[in-house]
Amino acid sequence: MRRYLPIFAASLMASVATPASAYMAYISNERGNTVSIVDTEKMEVVETINVGQRPRGITISHDGKFVYLCASDDDTVEIIDTATNKIVGSLPSGPDPELFVLSPDGKTLYVANEDDNLVTVIDIESKRVIIEIPVGVEPEGMGISPDGKTLVNTSETTNMAHFIDTETHEITHNVLVDSRPRFAEFKPDGSEVWVSAEIGGTVSVIDNETREIKHKITFDIPGLRPESIQPVGVRISADGSKAYVALGPANRVAVVDTSTYEVTKYVLVGQRVWQLAFTPDQKHVISTNGISNDVTFIDVASDEPVQSVTVGDQPWGVVVAPN
């Protein structure tokens, strides 16, 4: 494995070479019942806000005005106004919301309700539930195709990726993947869906045309037991060339070449790395490290970890404002 540059040097280089614009990253702290707001240029926490109980899934409206947050133990999705950083409302999510995805037009939120084997479809403007779609046991991962026509939900005990037509709200395909699928991420061109399997230790690449698995990515880290490599969050770069996969208790983020499906690097971050988010300029990937209570900024050009920032208790999800 390559030796890492001392973090301060890498951070200095990154900031000198490419002065990044400041974005705000919102991090849900599952145990702390807070959201930490991190300035991505200064790489420091600028504000911490109190939210509902057990905050997990987090996303933001396309105009950057509202953060949506799953307050799982409060059975609600909270709306945070990013101008004031205050909770200004809630959406009727159904029980125990964990993860969700926003439609490309920003009008619809699709929520996975773990306890009820349902995907809840919410119209954001009217704050109404449009429909509940029965899926497999413990729905979790939610991905949406760039054209908004296909929703993919993963069910953790059923071990499937359910392809749902967003017009008819019906399941069209069920693809069996490995144990405990956690996350679904479409490639920006819509050609593939990447589904991580936490207990199975793999990422299945599903062809969006045939709806069949075309490749299964495995991970191998010398000195680590295979059982401790548990893929969770997956993010693919805007140009579609690189994928980042959070490996849970392996404390690393895998960098995958999307043309060869080869792992090009394992980036050591904090403990129990869960979810990931790109900054809008694609310069950094931010990982949430649940057990070390921090987030790590990974420099996308070099795939080096450049800075870790302590946030609240057990950071779970992360989203970066688009502006």
């Binding site: 029965p134 069209t172 144990s179």
Partner: protein
């Protein structure tokens, strides 16, 4: 014969869900359409009699184990609804000393291919031998006797219940990690007590504990509980533990609920208690919320209206193992499913933090051991630093080089 069929109240619910989902996707696209329906019938054969316990809080619920199987069936059916597979549960209850073979044969005759056995070791062996030629696959969800996985092992029996040696090893690793190395062992006079005591002796030797003294607590047949009992116990237990050499912890091997629960806070010198009382090793804990455990706990509580205990989890894992085999092989054939469960491809996610598999040499489920008291999970073993070349879970219980199992 006192046999009764326990109605499966979940089934109707599951069936409704099945109908609604299959209705929804029948109009959908290509591979979402249900294939020809396969029915997979699972039996649950249990020897049960209302038991006494030292504390009324420890009396097992009347549907212990069965409830776990029911929730497992519901989970399998949600998945099965996408694949055209339907799982059913037939529950038959007998008395602890009754013949199990006849009810077993009747179950098999009615079409059951998989049987969850919540039976004594003798009853289990009897049905295993009766079912072998008929191709019936049995899951032992209750018996902890190591011998069932060793000299008495059977090719058609998988074990989701942990063994006495796995439980003892899980506890011992934690005590060593805590550096509580000097143990006193108090064991009961019944056979299960002796088996657990033997497993604790073996664990001491394996992991570097020292049993500085042993003492037997004889069951004289007194009532488990009586109105003024507390006063007497408060005087009795200090005296019983008075002349013990210096020790860090007191281990109780009382699988028969005779004295274990009386030890904590009543010993002559102030020492913690573990084993059958105090810090107990188990395959599940009603308060476990790690590794996604909250989800199964919520699902269980919603359906059953009580917390999930170890035998429920053993049964759930057995049903899910069968379900996983049926999903991956797209078949309801017991020999194909058993073959898959034995293969390298098999894994089941069961809220224990890593994939669970069966040991090929004796078909025992590899699993972590929970250590908890009445309300908290204190730790889970294997503990950090107990290494193994195959799986750290194989540091718990009898390992391949020592096995006496020959199929």
């Amino acid at each position: 014969m006192n046999r009764k069929n326990v109605p499966n109240f979940l089934l109707s619910l599951v069936f409704l869900l099945f109908i609604s989902i299959s209705g929804a996707y029948a109009q959908g696209g290509s591979n979402a359409a249900a294939k020809t329906s396969i029915e997979i019938r699972i039996g649950y054969l249990r020897a049960f009699e209302a038991e006494l316990a030292l504390s009324v809080l420890d009396i097992p619920p009347v549907n212990a184990g069965v409830a776990g199987a029911e929730v497992g069936i519901a989970d399998n059916n949600t998945t099965g609804s996408f694949l055209g597979q339907k799982f059913t549960l037939d529950v038959v209850q007998i008395k602890p000393d009754e013949d199990a073979v006849e009810p077993f044969n009747q179950m098999v005759q009615s079409g059951v291919k998989f049987v969850l056995a919540d039976l004594s070791a003798e009853q289990l062996l009897a049905i295993a031998d009766a079912g072998r030629e008929k191709g019936i696959i049995i899951f032992n969800v209750a018996s902890r006797e190591d011998a069932l996985r060793e000299e008495q092992c059977r090719i058609n029996v998988f074990h989701t219940a942990p063994t006495y040696s796995m439980l003892a090893d899980g506890l011992a690793q934690y005590l060593i990690w805590k550096q509580w190395r000097n143990w006193v062992l108090i064991y009961g006079s019944h056979e299960p007590d002796q088996l657990f005591a033997e497993a604790l002796r073996r664990a001491a030797e394996r992991f570097g504990g020292t049993i500085v003294a042993e003492k037997e607590f004889e069951d004289t047949g007194t009532a488990r509980r009586s109105d003024t009992g507390v006063t007497q116990i408060q005087r009795l237990m200090p005296v019983f533990t008075q002349e013990l050499p210096n020790h860090d912890i007191l281990l109780a091997a009382d699988e028969s609920e005779v004295f274990g629960g009386y030890l904590p806070y009543r010993t002559w010198v102030p020492r913690p208690v573990a084993g059958s009382a105090g810090l107990r090793p188990s395959s599940w804990h009603p308060a476990s919320e790690q590794w996604g455990g909250t989800q199964i706990q919520n699902r269980f509580e919603k359906a059953i209206k009580r917390r999930m205990i170890s035998v429920d989890m053993n049964a759930w894992t057995a049903v899910r193992s069968i379900g996983e085999g049926a999903t991956r092989t797209q078949s309801g054939d017991p020999s194909a499913i058993a073959e898959f469960i034995r293969s390298d491809e098999f894994q089941v996610a069961a809220f224990r933090g890593q994939r669970l598999t069966y040991r090929k040499w004796n078909q025992q489920l590899r699993q972590p051991v929970f250590l908890g008291d009445g309300s908290q999970v204190v730790s889970t073993s294997p503990q950090e630093g107990f290494l193994h070349q195959v799986s750290e879970l194989d540091t718990l219980g009898i390992d391949q080089p020592e096995t006496e199992c020959q199929f």
